[in-house]
Amino acid sequence: MSLQVTDLRVYYRTLAGDVKALDGVTLAIADGEIMGLAGESGCGKSTLGNSLIRIEGRMKHVGGEVTLDGVQLPIDDQRDMDHFRFAEVSLIPQYAMSALNPTRKIGKMVGELLATRGVRLQDAREELERRLLLVGLTRDVLDRYPIELSGGMKQRMVMVVSTLLDPSLLIADEITSALDVSSQRAVAQTLVEFRDRGFVKSMIVITHDVSILYQISNTLAIMYAGKLAEKASTDVMMSRPRHPYTRLLISSLPEIGVRFEEHRLTGIPGTPPSLLDPPSGCRFRDRCPLAIAKCAEEEPPFVELEPGHSVACWMVS
């Protein structure tokens, strides 16, 4: 078991009270697993990713723990966490490609980054160039400034740098969202290749785009309003989704071949509840076509229906 997250709760402190962005999430990721994490904006998927790296500012760790390869991550303690960041856990944030320092040549920036982990650029250079080649970049990008690279090139550069120390866990947060379809595909397939070559042991790929996850992930987790709604292997999730939210979500996605005139898709009416004061019971019940009285009273537990397939819904468990 590579990563084990148990009942993790992370809230945001605001003037109006605590926003319960991550409210009791339990999941496990096996060695070599690419887990896709999908959900609407504000469902807490990025908060989950960020919590495994850095709990900052307004974020507050309220409960739960995280172990990586049997070692408990000190996610509360930012100084202790420093030993794990980049070396054991690495995050590619959403706008990583615009976060490259514009005044530094890329090679120099990588050198500075490695120096913070006590690694000299000369020692890592050979491996760095080998991996750059793998993603279709040549070594001369190291002598260039970020402005000279296209969006897709920068994104692949960041991917190589983030995984240079062979971390156990890589979190990729919406890294394909700002790219064109062709670069999107290259970036997504590079993630798989990195796993196959053992640059990273396991991965959490966060995106709102379920169809990208279908292409590359082994398992899929769907979040709704701070909680997990369903987790299963990707094939099971696409062929036999059980949670009403997952079903509605998947059936609302247009595909090539589906046309408005012939087959009108429908969205999910309503909006997710406010996490400042979340409703009792199931948080999806206001938008759920199957909701019964029990859904308002008791919160559905996240239970395993069959090995590897867990759902939080009273109507299926």
Binding site: E40, S41, V135, G136, L137, S150, G151, G152, M153, R156, D180, V181, S182, Q184, R185, A186, A188, Q189, T190, H208, D209, V210, S211, I212, Y214, Q215, M238, L248, L249, I250, S252, L253, P254, E255, I256, G257, V258, R259, F260, R264, L265, T266, G267, I268, T271
Partner: protein, 331 residues
């Protein structure tokens, strides 16, 4: 009818604007009321520039855009105002289109000030209600609210309602659902379909092929400012003629079909380039090449009609639009 005829646009870039950056080259097509055309391209393909030129937010360098026969570049004063009565735009980011200090329905007030100064309060109220009904919003839920109290889907619908307040017949919709969540984006997309049924002509600008395929009757594929292929949507997606179109379609992540192996070239980061063995359908259809390549009317320059209403451009066009590189013997 809105017609673009051989429209080109280049931006001045570099020190003192010394360099020309061509953004749109020789683009011709027309939009009728009651149809949706999707304008699909990757970043930098010029798709938004075309939308902005139609909305007169940018000038045209070469060629003309006509609205029912009138060149829109010549419109001034009252004539321009009446153009904006019929042609309106909605853009990508609903969150930044609103001023957070004002209530969201302030955008309606702006329209009233310019176009309906003499309308009575009751008359105006009826117009607003009609427009909101058209975008399936409940007036009680959205009027007198601040932007932060509304969801992205609601805000985007308010902007569409704002565009419909006038006697709108054409809507330029530039990436209007890219920022919305999966559960609401399809509703906004369906809304466009319903508006089309009511006679609105919509230019749906997007980078997302599956959205364009879902909603449009006709598809225009742009690459580097040039049309590479256009035609009826089922034809373009079902029988793509240009290798670039085929590459785009193959890159789209599907829900029930996995990607195949990727061609080595597209991983290299140098951008897409046609394989040397790829035949030029344009050249095959028009053996004469560039000289005979300008069909009459709106069909456009540099495009060959391979089947009824299905046009394809050259695989490797030169900067002046003539076919470059492909041997004439391929025809």
């Amino acid at each position: 009818m809105l017609t673009l005829e051989r429209v080109s646009k280049s931006y001045k870039v570099g020190l003192f604007g010394g360099t020309d950056l061509p953004a749109v080259r020789d683009v011709s097509f027309s939009l009728q009321p009651g149809e949706v055309i999707s304008l699909i391209g990757e970043s930098g393909s010029g798709k938004s520039t075309i939308g902005k030129m139609i909305l007169r937010l940018l000038s045209v360098n070469n060629g003309t855009i006509t609205h029912d026969g009138t060149d829109i570049a010549t419109l001034r004063g009252a004539a321009l105002r009446s153009y904006y009565r019929t042609v309106q735009g909605v853009f990508q980011d609903p969150f930044s289109s609103f001023n957070p200090i004002f209530k969201a329905d302030h955008v309606f007030g702006l329209i009233r000030g310019v176009y309906f100064g003499s309308a009575s309060a009751a008359d105006w109220r009826r117009r607003v209600d009609d427009a909101l009904e058209a975008v399936t919003l409940d007036p009680a839920q959205v009027l007198h609210k601040y932007p932060h109290q509304l969801s992205g889907g609601q805000l985007q619908r308010l902007l569409i309602a704002r565009a419909l307040l006038l006697d709108t017949r054409y809507l330029v919709a530039d990436e209007i659902i890219s920022m919305l969540d999966a559960s609401t984006r399809i509703d906004v997309l369906n809304l466009l379909g319903d508006l089309k049924a009511r006679g609105l002509g919509i230019l749906f600008i997007t980078h997302d092929l599956s959205l364009g395929n879902y909603i449009s009757e006709r598809t225009v594929i742009l690459r580097r400012g040039r049309i590479v292929e256009m035609g009826a949507t089922p034809a373009v997606f079902g029988r793509p003629l240009h290798p670039y179109t085929r590459m785009l379609i193959a890159s789209v992540p599907q829900l029930h079909q996995k990607w195949g192996e990727m061609e080595a070239g597209s991983r290299a980061g140098t951008g897409w380039a046609p394989a040397p063995t790829e035949p030029c359908r344009y050249h095959a259809a028009l053996p004469g090449g560039g000289a005979t390549a300008v069909p009459t009317g709106v069909a456009g320059s540099g495009l060959a009609e391979v089947e009824d209403g299905h046009f394809v451009g050259c695989v490797q066009p030169n900067d002046d639009g003539t076919c470059g590189g492909r041997p004439a013997s391929s025809s």
